[in-house]
């Protein structure tokens, strides 16, 4: 009964401006929190974008490998030394793993190593798989560089690929 009475009186008194004050308190608190988290969130966002770019890069590499349509220089090499690669193959990406290898003094950025896991049953020779794996890795790094617009500070093989706060290298593709 006490509660009911208070409730009714509460309405009668009409706490003017309470909502506004609460909102201001809440908004102020959130703003401070966001400001504190901003640098952390920015880094995480950058890493997310990089991973997404890595995935689409891997996809592009796999498409070239699958359809057996290569850049002209590689094609000429394969036609003589790795004839199997002239035909189409069937590759699947299992996952892409990241490993944070800490701050690197040379570039002043944090080093991230990417490792692509892929499977391919149509190829048996290790040299053939390595060639296709190198193409996947190259496209992963290229895609990251393109995404952050850092092609001009990378070398021809985009190794390593840079983003604003990180740089990326790729380990050999693990065939499973």
């Amino acid at each position: 009964m006490d509660f009911k009475k208070n409730f009714k009186e509460g309405f009668k008194k009409d706490f003017k401006g309470q909502i506004t004050t609460e909102y201001l308190l809440f908004a102020g608190f959130t703003l401070i929190l966001v400001l504190f988290l901003l640098s952390y969130l920015g880094d995480e966002n950058e890493l997310n974008v990089a991973m997404s770019a890595a995935r689409s890069g891997a996809l592009e590499g796999i498409i070239m490998d699958d359809l057996a349509i290569y850049p002209e220089k590689s094609f000429k090499e394969y036609e003589i030394t790795k004839k199997r690669l002239i035909g189409t193959s069937n590759i699947k990406i299992i996952k892409i793993e990241t490993q944070n290898q800490g701050y690197d003094d040379r570039y002043g950025k944090v080093k991230i190593q990417l490792k692509v896991y892929a499977s391919c049953y149509s190829l048996t020779k290790k040299v053939d798989k390595d060639s296709l794996g190198d193409r996947i890795n190259y496209n992963v790094r290229k895609s990251i560089s393109n995404c952050f617009g850092t092609e001009n500070i990378c070398n021809d093989l985009y190794n390593p690929a840079f983003s604003d706060n990180y740089f990326f290298t790729t380990a050999d593709v693990k065939w499973v």
């Binding site: 974008v49 770019a53 689409s56 592009e60 349509i69 290569y70 850049p71 002209e72 895609s143």
Partner: protein, 137 residues
Amino acid sequence: MELIFTTLFFIFILTGMVSVVSDRLDVTNRTEELLDARMLVETVANSINNVYTAGNGQNMDIVLPPTVGNSSYKLLVNSSGVYIEVEGMKGKAAILPMKIRDGLSNTSHKIEMLPGRTYSIKNEKIDNQSVIIIFSK
């Protein structure tokens, strides 16, 4: 206040998304191009094989598309396969080993097929041997 928050949040997400989305679109376009190229080269190789195995007198027309994806291309045929070149990329589809000639000279070993044209593939007996003749119509 809410509007400012929402807008800022939206912009934050959008900046991250733009590069990713444009990257994905590029990949999709590239995929279409390479896939079309592979399909075309296999179709041509298949047609040549079919004409060859069907025996003397067999004739088939193929119409080449003006582009693969959105880019121009180049098709080359020699006695070991059909090659396609598109945007600095190259691919090959193997054919049965056979003698190939174009309609003009008798000694050509490499035939270039141009986009957007119709070609006739013909199996003829020359000097007691099956020879595939490819010429533009």
